[in-house]
């Protein structure tokens, strides 16, 4: 089953001349971890709002095409109904947490959905546990670190039991450590709970080892889509798209350009060590020297 399916989707904000988003076709499979990579203004936020119905339900504009979420036509449901299928996490940690305690924050969604009290209590414990905030029920969100805030926002979405999470640049304001913690949790959600994860990002580096697929979005259009190794191996293409390539793919492509033989395709440090050891007998000799 497809978690998200876009057919001939176009969206234009009022008063703007061009399409903010123009996607002939995009499918995201259930249980897939997809990173949508693009510079500022590429349409990442627009895409995430289409996935949970905020566009066109709440944000108005000229809208065409069909958006299906788990084979339900998004246009036939309210944002509240879609929230049980698609959990949404925004960029800015501070303004998406509005309760006095972590527990209330996580309970807010299911309370609105009139879930019975015992079940809410169970979901709160479950969701806080999944994001590594167990026992923090009473903590005021404003006293949490940036990374913890974003994880709490994830828990607040998870408690509505969605099958897909859409995150709009969730690591925007985080330091590198917080970023990795966040993405590790998302990866665990995918692996252990079959969650479909769609992350909007500007930087390919952090997500190279977590994603099943990268989609490159430029000026509202998809210019590439495929597994990380295929999309990220061409740093020049990424730079032209306006996103920073992973450092190691730059290294791999520069070495490949200078050498004959099969091109190198590593993205992570581990892959690089393995490939370089095989491909550089001269250096291995240096070790035995």
């Amino acid at each position: 089953m497809q978690a998200l399916r876009l057919e001939d989707v176009r969206f234009r904000y009022p008063g703007m001349s061009g399409w903010a988003l123009d996607i002939p076709s995009l499918g995201i499979g259930q249980g897939e971890f997809v990173t949508v990579l693009g510079p500022n203004g590429a349409g990442k936020t627009t895409l995430s709002f289409l996935a949970n119905g905020l566009i066109p339900k709440s944000i108005k504009g000229e809208s065409e095409g069909s958006v299906e979420v788990f084979e339900h036509k998004a246009s036939e449901y309210s944002v509240a109904q879609l929230s049980t299928l698609v959990g949404m996490v925004f960029q800015e940690p501070e303004s998406q947490l509005f309760c006095m305690s972590a527990e209330e924050e996580v309970a807010f969604g299911p309370e609105n959905l009139a879930v019975p009290r015992d079940e809410i209590a169970r979901r709160v414990e479950w969701a806080l546990g999944l994001v590594g905030l167990k026992g923090m029920n009473g903590r005021s969100p404003s006293t949490l670190s940036g990374g913890q805030k974003q994880r709490l926002a994830i828990a607040a979405a998870l408690s509505m039991k969605p099958s897909m999470l859409v995150l709009d640049e969730p690591a925007y304001a985080l330091d590198p450590v917080g970023r990795i913690e966040l993405y590790t949790i998302l990866s665990d959600l995918k692996t252990n709970h079959g969650m479909t994860v769609v992350v909007m990002e500007r930087d390919a580096e952090a997500l190279a080892k977590f994603s099943d697929r990268f989609v490159v979005l430029v000026g509202g259009r998809i210019t590439a889509s495929g597994p990380p190794a295929a999309v990220l191996r061409d740093p020049r293409f990424l730079k032209e798209a306006g996103v920073s390539p992973p450092q190691l793919s730059e290294v791999a492509s520069m070495i490949s350009a200078r050498r004959k033989g099969p091109p190198l395709g590593f993205l992570t440090v581990e892959e690089a060590v393995a490939e370089i050891m095989v491909n550089a007998p001269r250096h291995t000799r240096m070790v035995s020297r």
Partner: protein
């Protein structure tokens, strides 16, 4: 600003555990009582009772005094100024120029000051022993629309954040050689435009995301939402409520039915 609104402290006294609705009603009843009583002695007794509650709430008097220092100043001021404006009664104790200071006026000043003290302390106890969210829950339980309750609790939540934003904006403008509190009144007002505009813009941006967040969390999906934490009256809450009702009812009966001078 933040300190005034968030006085709550986790102390676990029986007053902390009381149903917030009961606390709210009790505070209202005691406030009415403070204004009903017009004689000094019963007011002093009421103040003593309220101070006893303060002690039972495990608030240190130092903290309460600090939080209420504005009220204490007001009490001193009332005591000193009342006789200057109220010149009725005899005997005249002394005169300052054309002003006659009378003995009953002095007592009336003290009485009013004690009344203000009762009133302020009882509300302080409420804020000290009740989390803002429980107050909001109580109001919603008592019939306030959930939307308004939510708006209220969001305001409570964002006031400190907004305070930090304003501090950061002030720093940013100081770093551009702005001297906020220098110059004439007009100059200073103009200086504050450079703080106000970014503050409003940043509040609007926050409100924008907040609105989208609320929708994404199924806000307004059903008319009857459920609540994780239900507040429920326990026997001790009924006892406390009865005590508060009697505390108003008995003196009221005595005063208005039996004509006891209270």
């Amino acid at each position: 600003m933040t300190g005034l609104l968030d006085l709550y402290s986790e102390k676990g006294s029986f007053l902390h555990r009381l149903d917030p609705r009961v606390k709210l009603l009790a505070v209202l009843l005691l406030s009415v009582l403070a204004f009903m009583l017009s004689e000094l002695l019963p007011l002093v007794l009421l103040l003593a009772f309220i101070l006893l509650l303060l002690a039972l709430s495990k608030s240190s008097f130092g903290k309460a005094f600090f939080a209420l220092k504005f009220v204490v100043r007001l009490m001193v001021l009332i005591t000193l100024l009342w006789p200057l404006f109220d010149r009725s009664g005899t005997p005249v104790l002394f005169s300052i120029g054309p002003l006659d200071i009378t003995e009953p006026a002095i007592w009336r000043g003290v009485t009013s000051a004690v009344r203000i003290g009762c009133f302020a302390t009882v509300w302080y106890i409420l804020m000290f022993t009740t989390q803002q969210r429980d107050l909001v829950r109580a109001l919603v339980k008592l019939g306030l629309r959930f939307d308004y309750g939510l708006a209220l609790s969001i305001s409570f939540r964002f006031i400190p954040t907004f305070g930090l934003t304003i501090e950061s904006i002030k720093d940013a403008q100081r770093a551009r050689a702005l001297e906020l509190d220098k110059g004439s009144f007009i100059r200073r007002s103009k200086n504050y435009v450079s703080v106000l505009v970014p503050a409003v813009v940043s509040a609007l941006r926050t409100a924008d995301t907040l609105a989208l967040t609320l929708q994404s969390r199924a806000y307004g999906a059903f008319r009857d939402r459920t609540y994780l934490r239900e507040i429920r009256m326990r026997p001790s809450d009924y006892v406390a409520l009865a005590v508060a009702v009697l505390a108003l009812l008995l003196p009221a009966l005595a005063k208005y039915v039996y004509g006891v001078p209270l």
